[in-house]
Symmetry: C2
Subunit: 154 residues, 2 copies
DNA sequence: TTAAATTTGTTCGTCAGCCAAACAAAATAA
DNA sequence: TTATTTTGTTTGGCTGACGAACAAATTTAA
């Protein structure tokens, strides 16, 4: 037998050192986000809906007559980024781009009946997904978490 | 004048409704992550180092003789994903792939002197970046935030 | 010791999500 | 009427990530 397996850091024998990463909020936020994103994608795989697409559907549903620019601004992304998202959902028949009589540049966004039905179904699944990823948090802790997250950045 | 500007949801007159998104931890984690990522990229633009690349450098520095598989596992990503990251850092002369005598399949990862210098400089910048994004949180709140984030998922 | 299984690094195709620059059409302001 | 701004768009590029498939090397089992 050889004195030691691999690199000593090779197996699960020695715990891997994370250095200063452990102290970084950014690292932990990133990790949590990855876990949540992954669970969302798996849960919503049958409906083929990503977190980003879900957000867009919710926003369109909650804001009648909104155009792409307004939606992009509200979600904090660029207009150019929004184009492909909207196009994708439109091609699947979940939303429509409607002409606005008073401004021929703008597209008014609206859910189709199909999109409305899908959103209802997905909303329930999203709640279940949320319950799952926050299962180890109390309601209070979840509220605290959200409050603290909202203090980040500005 | 026309009765109302645009779509009524068009300008900043009417606040945009976020529907159920406001209640979702996933939505807030995503938002915080975007803010932190953005600030990190801007702050580290001179060194052209992304959060992911920084994490890899920190891990290599803190774990001597580690191979790519171990690193990937520790960071929760696939081996195939790690390849491009390592290749990119190696091409910039920040790290090296070293042969391991006892296992000719494996690459031992190590920082070059250049990588070591850069990491030191960037670490200071990262701390400043952290202070900035958590500026509105007390030390206690930051610790609470990390603890709560760690409860997410499993 | 030989055959089977596993591990390591890799390539390739694919996806989510995002930005900035440039542009035409349309609307608004000067 | 002219200049400016807004809307949606295309294009090219970047970060970050998977899974399938594969050859070479190593380890395990028969």
């Amino acid at each position: 037998m050889k004195s030691e397996k691999r690199t000593s850091a090779g197996k699960g024998l020695v715990p891997v050192e994370r250095g200063m990463l452990e102290d970084l909020v950014g690292y932990h936020v990133r990790k949590a986000q990855a876990i949540i994103f992954d669970d969302f994608m798996r849960a919503m795989a049958p409906e083929r809906l990503s977190p980003g697409q879900f957000g867009v559907l919710v926003m369109i549903s909650a804001n009648q007559g909104m155009n792409q620019s307004t939606l992009a601004k509200a979600l904090g992304i660029e207009r150019s980024t929004m184009v492909a998202v909207i196009t994708g959902l439109e091609k699947r028949g979940l939303i429509k781009r409607l002409p606005l009589a008073t401004d021929r540049r703008a597209n008014i966004l609206a859910l189709t009946p199909k999109g409305d039905l899908l959103l209802d179904k997905v909303k329930a699944k999203v709640r279940a997904h949320e319950n799952k990823v926050t299962a180890r948090l109390t309601a209070d802790e979840t509220q605290t978490l959200v409050s603290l997250l909202q203090k980040i950045g500005g």
